[in-house]
Assembly symmetry: C2
Homo-oligomer: 550 residues x 2
């Protein structure tokens, strides 16, 4: 019932995936005013959401707004492993038998309804993740919806490439044999989607919808401290399923606690056939090893590097870089972390700028941001977790003379109690025995790494990618043939590369339908948004063939 009305949207998304050019399926969402956002979130205060198969267990999640420091006070049904897996099985046949178009229609209608409630979703996202309302409308709003639509379109295209029927004729000996064949895509089984705390929609929408489009019942397990945004998405999908006459339990919310996590048990259960995970490298690796023969798709974390070699306009470059470090307080998987600055300084159109000056200028750009609280609030948002702040405090306390800039609080114009800081800068020189951090340092901290020259920087960065993984890598270099060679070196290390991003586009912006997110070729994860391998294994083909009498 929902397929035909959205067919033109779907076709446009398929075409955008094919050409990989700029396109969006969703009009911009205007951020709500802060008071309005609080009202929208407050509507769930004291509410119990039942978004799974029946259970008597409930959990009042430990969700605290990073802006108001108030508990959201939302209670969720918390089904056990068995209850939720049984619920998935009970829903499976009807979901499967609904067929591809019906299921794809449900996915598209769900995206549309979430978009229509964009301000409400943004408000909830902001008060659970710490994203600014602007980012919650774009990054976790339209961009996440686009990534979801991208995945639905990829799944639809993959299933559509197989003809439904063929009349097949071949001669054996002297006799022609005619077979009528049917080919039908079938789901593989129950799917688990584990979402992260700070940016859940962007990865969860593609995984949930790719599973749903291909007919697999989905269990959605949000981070226990960042539930409500994902819960509302699940609620919308369940409503659409019901409207389509399909069992709502085809998509269930599974809520656990930090003390009693459930994801490992669900993933390792033989009934779980697909696992999508966004989160830590440790648990991602555990899942890849311990999910039996289930399909496992991971996006974990990496160390994103920047090499500053040569630029046309240093001021603009440093503005972009300061913005990149600050955007959502470095809590994005695409945030830069390790910035290589060469002994020879940075070549610019106006001559070489010594490294010390570059460092000073970058620090100044961050100081400017801290001094402009309204802009800082829009860019930085807040820290999702208190643990991140504590880890920054501890880093600063031990950084000694490598500390270039402390993570400085900014005065959030709307929420004085917000967990709001501007980025920390640490400057190290491995040649002087400074330790390069052993992996991702989550949150707003960048390491400025003194480095001999461009080749040494490339060598160090690609070695880091091989060891720690990377999701995005950045280069500033005015020599196009050098970029080619460096892109090759990064590709050999399994990483993509962005060069010379100096603009109003945030450097870590990854465009749905165009930018592949996560290569699958380094330790930062094995799942690419959205290549064909992200969708191909979620369904299989069954066929029947019958001989036609001559």
């Amino acid at each position: 019932m929902f397929f035909t009305p959205h067919l033109s949207l779907l076709n446009s998304a398929v075409e955008a995936n094919r050409t990989r050019s700029a396109w969006t399926g969703f009009a911009p969402i205007a951020p709500p005013e802060p008071e309005r956002a609080e009202t929208l979130v407050g509507a769930y205060d004291g509410v119990t959401l039942q978004l799974s198969a029946p259970t008597s267990s409930v959990v009042t999640a430990d969700e605290i707004s990073p802006y108001t420091e108030k508990s959201l006070n939302v209670t969720y049904a918390a089904p056990s492993v068995e209850e939720t897996l049984d619920g998935a099985v009970a829903a499976a046949d009807k979901l499967r038998d609904a067929g591809v178009e019906e299921r794809v229609g449900v996915c598209l209608e769900s995206l549309r309804r979430i978009h229509r409630r964009g301000q409400e979703f943004a408000a909830v996202t902001s008060h659970t993740t710490g994203q600014s309302l602007g980012m919650a409308c774009s990054g976790s709003g339209t961009n996440a919806l686009d990534r979801g639509l991208e995945a639905v379109a990829m799944a639809w295209a993959a299933m559509s490439r197989v003809p439904e029927t063929v009349t097949w004729q071949q001669t054996f000996g002297k006799n022609p044999v005619t077979l009528r064949k049917r080919f039908r895509p079938r789901p593989v089984g129950t799917a688990l989607v584990v979402a992260c705390a700070s940016f859940p929609a962007w990865n969860a929408y593609p995984a949930i919808l790719a599973n749903l489009a291909t007919g697999n019942p989905v269990l959605v397990k949000p981070h226990p401290r960042s539930v409500l945004g994902t819960a509302l998405a699940v609620q919308v999908i369940r409503e659409v399923l019901a409207d389509a006459g399909l069992p709502a339990d085809a998509v269930q919310l599974v809520v656990d606690t930090v003390e009693s996590p459930i994801a490992g048990d669900l993933a390792a259960h033989p009934a779980t056939r697909i696992v999508d995970f966004t989160g830590s490298q440790n648990f991602g690796s555990w899942l890849e090893r311990n999910s039996g023969d289930a399909l496992v798709f991971t996006e974990t974390a990496g160390v994103n590097t920047v090499i500053l070699d040569s630029v046309h306009d240093l001021a603009a470059t440093l503005r972009t870089l300061a913005g990149g470090l600050s955007l959502f307080s470095g809590q994005m998987c695409t945030s830069p972390q390790n910035i290589y600055i060469l002994d020879g300084g940075v070549n610019t159109a106006d001559g070489t700028v010594p490294r010390d000056e570059v460092v000073t200028a970058l620090r100044a750009a961050l100081d400017d941001l801290a001094a402009a609280p309204r802009r800082a609030a829009a860019v930085c948002g807040a820290l999702q977790s208190d643990a991140t702040l504590r880890s920054l405090d501890s880093l600063a306390a031990t950084a000694g003379d490598t500390l270039v800039r402390r993570h400085t609080p900014y005065a959030h114009p709307d929420y004085p109690q917000a967990r709001a800081v501007t980025p920390m800068l640490i400057r190290i020189d491995p040649r002087r025995g400074h330790q390069v951090p052993n992996g991702e340092q989550f949150g707003p901290v960048a390491y400025l790494i003194d480095c001999a020259d461009r080749d040494a920087a490339v060598e160090h960065a690609t070695a880091s990618i091989r060891r720690h993984g990377a999701i995005s890598s950045y280069l500033y270099c005015t020599d196009d043939s050098a970029i080619d060679a460096i892109a090759d070196a990064y590709a050999d290390a399994g990483a993509s590369l962005s060069a010379n991003l100096v603009s109003s586009m945030p450097m870590q912006y990854a465009a749905a339908y165009s930018d592949y997110h996560v290569t699958g070729l380094n330790p930062a994860g094995n799942a690419t948004l959205t290549d064909e391998s992200f969708v191909a294994g979620r369904f299989r083909m069954v066929q029947d063939r019958r001989q036609i009498e001559e």
Copy 2:
């Protein structure tokens, strides 16, 4: 250098995959005369084949012709795990940098050269696997080459669906931002292909070539008692690689012994990123659990069922079925095993035929075959392994009054010492306490299962599929709407279904470009020849993007 000359072949294969209609890329191979076949095989007597990175180890394989009982006496270099993995790494960069067209060209040229030597390959196949020369020219000849080409075409199409470049433009704020993006498919790493003893080419060609086309160095590990056919294919590919200026070690042969198997060590090694396996369910499951985070593609085994409900022409049906049981002595993964015959007998155009008469007629059809040695030789070939014969002997000795027909030797016209039998029939009734075999009984043995009615047969067969897996399932039923319902039941059990095959086409024939082989939805394996999931994960995309100055 090899791409352009074969482009039209490639395009035709892509189109055949798309339409799934009948097509072949290879002209029929005329079987050689037996003496000629022996000469072709004898040319390798005493030869040492070095088809890997350098090693000082050699193995004279335990290859005994099932026809002559003579040792093939071929010695192979037997590199260690480290030697062969190092060899793969040494070849990897050049293979990767050769690019898609060059690698696909190597695949296509290799198929062409193997085809050109079709009689030699057939002779070797016959004297290692026991296939008749006719089957070795078709099933392991042109059909296997077609399955190889099918996989190359799928991989090529998947890589080709991604544009090489795009100029991407989007407005942020008021400013248009233009990025030039490149997308490049990259291999994931060293691939292991483990082939089986009786039908190696059919699965090994697709796996080897899908890996090669996508740029992954390949280690090919044949069954230690059936090496030479696979070795020659590897030799051809290595020659083509060398002719293309690429390292021959991009494809290596790894030979082990039954006493010191190497496949587990290779598969579990972290450097191995892809594993393709054809063989037992036990080892296939072990691989799925123990290959770390490598991609694992398996085709193992299942219990293929036949339901005899109603037919137009019983004699023709039983001829087809007798042929299906006899073809290559039941040693094909598509061979029927469990045949359900209903209490009410079989409905035919001429009335109902009681079950006892059906059993008698089937036995008679097999007796006729045994009495026609030249036809029996062409159909049955020989048993690859002495263990199969011993297992048949043991089954017959314990079958008691369930034994309907012993596996009867036939007098092979060319090789009196051939390990040559016609199929055994065992008739059981689970309602009378008879044990249904607990899985595949490899070789020429069929179980005739007395069954109440069609519904009971479908229920029993689909339960068997869920438990033991199935690669092909067969139904004889003249009611088309009943076939629809039964096809649904089989699909729900994760199985494909062939109905009413009564013709000159062997019932277990699976057509490249058209018939999906293995659904991945039951215990008979997870790899489908050839769906998109068979190729999609073997490469990943890296991209680079650079901003264009306005």
